[in-house]
Symmetry: C2
Subunit: 215 residues, 2 copies
């Protein structure tokens, strides 16, 4: 009985995700769903990405948070269209919330839409939003054992950004071992080590993303 | 309709939490529910706490993870009784899972039970397990804005352990401002800054905990 309810919910979510997808295709919008633990650097990564894409690609942002609009305010200072979704306690974005946010965005004037999910390594992995890519930011202070603890998230990610590499001298974190572990779970995944604080590695990520958008 | 289902689930959880509570009282077990983001240091904190309590208090541990038994293996090396709960995808522990784990623990021979919840700042805050205290570990690399993003968790916590203070020289994190923000949300909360890596501040936390256990 309980499993049937879950199936129905997922079916409904996937149907709405499909409609979002059609809207993105119609407007030629490339869409990235950015997921991570709380404080891994989702907003910082989005800000650094926007700064480097200025004048090259028209960016829009959807900010997902349980409450507050702190992140949307920070991003709106960069002069890009941004919509805040407050989930009101829900631990993830779903396709329906995303669809509502899209009504408030000038999709015809956006080439790349960055969606910041709620900070959580579990639930967001279960809900498609209609995106092209799922990006997971995994920060070095979290430790290199996270793929064993949150396997679905690492399995679903198309790209893993290993953030906060500036802290590596002060931590026990083996980037090569971590990359190997992820690729053991998920052969297709791309891994970019970077630091949003120092900027190291961010250009490589942005150049690769630009290639995907123009793909 | 949907709200009614949620209410039923919560009611059922609270009923089972109440039964756990009666079992803890009968066996004179003091119970701490340890919650945090992924990688904030739950297992490290439990290990450091066990080491300092050796010969002073009889400790038992319940380890909650979506999958793997890495943490339980690390803790069993300390020679304390430990049970691993694998939630199989669920993003939090609930009272029923906890109740099942208790069947495998020698409760009559445990004075302090440490329950490590799934790494998640959202869902675990909604489920009572029958514990005495809810402990939130908030690590400095996550940033000092987390209380605004995850208000329920900070509201529910009886104690906030600010972990990884050894990294403060390399981060923008204001411990005093963070403490003030938390106390604005939650007047009763106790805050302990500490580092499981250097040991700084851990004795103060453990001494306080010991006082609570001895009532």
């Amino acid at each position: 009985m309980e499993i049937k309810v879950v199936k129905d919910i997922m079916g409904a979510n996937d149907q709405i995700a499909q409609k979002n997808r059609q809207l993105f295709d119609k407007n030629k919008v490339f869409v990235v769903n950015v997921m991570a633990s709380p404080g891994a650097g989702k907003t910082s990564l989005i800000l650094e990405t926007i700064k480097r894409l200025k004048g090259r690609v028209k960016v829009g942002v959807v900010e997902g948070d349980i409450s507050s609009s702190l992140d949307a305010e920070a991003i709106s200072k960069e002069g890009v269209p941004v919509v805040q979704i407050n989930t009101g306690g829900e631990c993830h974005l779903d396709a329906s919330m995303t669809s509502t946010a899209l009504d408030s965005l000038p999709l015809g004037d956006i080439e790349l839409l960055l969606i910041e999910n709620v900070g959580n390594l579990v639930c967001p992995a279960e809900f498609n939003l209609g995106e092209d890519w799922k990006i997971l930011i995994s920060s070095t202070p979290e430790g290199d054992d996270k793929p064993f603890k949150y396997p679905l998230m690492f399995h679903e990610a198309d790209v893993v950004l290993v953030n906060k590499i500036d802290l590596l001298p002060y931590l026990k974190f083996d980037v090569d071992a971590f990359s190997k572990t992820i690729k053991g779970i998920n052969q297709k995944v791309k891994v970019f080590p970077l630091s949003c604080t120092t900027g190291e590695g961010v250009d490589q990520w942005v150049d690769w993303l630009l290639g995907q958008v123009r793909g």
